[in-house]
């Protein structure tokens, strides 16, 4: 669990530089990411955790915060 969060945090930190991202902060409203971020995030999650992000998963609520992404990965890992 912690491991998943650490990995995601590390990936996100590349976009947020000095900002210490809180677990429940809205990633998309902080002004750090551009239009390519959603695609980069999906690629990262698929490669890092061996999951497939399906069309049904394309709900912003799955990716809005660090906590949401961690829960999403946990849910997907159970599906696998």
């Amino acid at each position: 669990m912690e491991n998943v969060e650490m990995k995601i945090r590390k990936f996100l930190s590349r976009f947020f530089r000095k900002h210490e991202l809180q677990g429940n902060e809205d990633i998309f409203s902080l002004g750090f990411v551009n239009s390519l971020f959603a695609m980069q995030l999906v690629m990262f999650l698929e490669k890092e955790f061996g999951i497939t992000v399906d069309t049904k998963d394309l709900d912003l609520e799955n990716f809005r915060t660090l906590n949401a992404i961690v829960s999403f990965i946990d849910k997907k890992k159970v599906e696998v």
Binding site: F11, R17, E46, L58
Partner: protein, 377 residues
């Protein structure tokens, strides 16, 4: 670190080169002149299976790795930029279906697209909307089991011959992707003529006038049209355009070397002139540098590394600028002959220019690459 092609990749490269020399180059000048893809070129690309180069074997495609796919686009780009653009746009649509399509969409469309029975085209750009893609004006409204699409698309590559179009329209005010078949009522195309370069790209305007499509033609989710569908398509588009520029640059280089060997001025071949040598050196090094950036982007794609997205922007930016310099130098070496259609560099020069505009202008690349640098360095 190891930068070298595998034995299989080298074998494929030789096969592509032979194919382009025999089946694409002989038709390139005519296709350019007549502003239409020679039917034999399309026929041969289909016959060889290259039309399905980007699709997995399970759907009847060739299942090429990303680097081999790059080399194919380089070689085709060396012969004919318009033929390369066919692989680009057809692939963009096929890959959108592969990535975000439903099981039914994949099973229906992909085997046909892999065999070239169906050609795909990408309908994002509009008369009023280019770089600012999120502002597309086309609209889609849900009505019972249908979407009703209204809109006008422009500059659609292969729009004259495509059978299915990936159309981007606002649905509930959010960018959304739909598949529209060419025979749907309310859908029509108008061929466009007069392009400066890549003249055989068969571009068209698309008109959607209360065009009713079944709900099953939605690709991905409402609202995911740009962020996931179009941007993934454009990543592949940018990757293959970058490779096409490397191929076109290589064609300029090879033509210039050949010409400099036989053309004599002041009693000696041009090749002995040091200013010509300087031009050849600049061309060669630039082509090689662009190729390495493309290999890098391709390798990252192959291993699924998200960095491939920015590296593809970098490769396309450099390669498209590079090919304009290289094509200009090729014309310079050819002198008066380079300004006439008797020599292919005249076409290369016009074709090169298109690459700094399609799949993101040079200026959009400069904004995006710099912003990414400020964010991450």
């Amino acid at each position: 670190m190891k930068i070298e092609l595998t034995e299989d990749q080298l074998k494929m490269q030789a096969e592509f080169r032979e194919f382009v020399d025999n089946d694409i180059i002989p038709f390139a000048a005519e296709s350019d002149r007549e502003e239409r893809m020679h039917p034999k070129v399309l026929e041969k690309i289909i016959e060889k299976g290259y039309i399905g180069s980007m699709l997995p074997v399970e759907y009847g495609g060739m299942g090429m790795d990303m680097v081999t796919l790059g080399i194919l686009n380089e070689e085709v780009g060396r012969g004919c930029s318009s033929a390369r653009s066919l692989l680009t746009v057809h692939g963009m649509v096929a890959l959108a279906i592969l990535r975000w399509g439903t099981k039914e969409q994949k099973q229906y469309w992909l085997p046909k697209m892999a065999k070239g029975e169906i050609i795909g085209a990408f309908g994002l750009t509009e008369p009023n909307v280019g770089s600012d893609a999120k502002s597309v004006e086309a609209s889609a409204v849900e009505e019972d089991d249908f979407y009703i699409i209204n809109g006008h698309k422009k500059w659609t590559t292969m729009g004259q011959i495509a059978d299915v179009f990936l159309i981007f329209a606002r649905c509930n005010d959010k960018p959304t992707a739909f598949l529209v078949e060419k025979d749907r009522a309310g859908f029509s195309t108008t061929p466009m003529k007069g392009l400066m370069g890549a003249r055989a790209s068969m571009i068209a305007e698309l008109h959607l006038d209360t065009c009713r499509i079944p709900k099953e033609n939605l690709v991905g989710k409402v609202g995911a049209g740009l962020s996931h569908v179009a941007l993934a398509c454009l990543d592949y588009g940018r990757y293959t355009v970058a490779w096409g520029c490397v191929g076109l640059g290589q064609a300029c280089l090879e033509a210039s070397i050949k010409y400099s060997r036989k053309r004599k001025q002041f009693g000696t071949p041009l090749r002995e002139n040091q200013l010509i040598q300087q031009l050849i050196t600049k061309m060669l090094v630039n082509v090689k540098a662009a190729r390495l950036l493309c290999y890098n982007a391709g390798y990252l794609k192959e291993i699924g590394d998200p960095d491939t997205i920015m590296e593809t922007w970098v490769a396309k930016y450099f390669a498209s600028k590079m090919v304009n310099e290289v094509a200009s130098e090729a014309v310079q070496i050819h002198g008066g002959n380079g300004c006439h259609s008797d020599y292919p560099v005249e076409r290369y020069y016009r074709d090169a220019r298109i690459n700094e505009i399609i799949e993101g202008t040079t200026q959009m690349h400069e904004v995006l690459i710099a912003m990414n640098a400020f964010r991450t360095i």
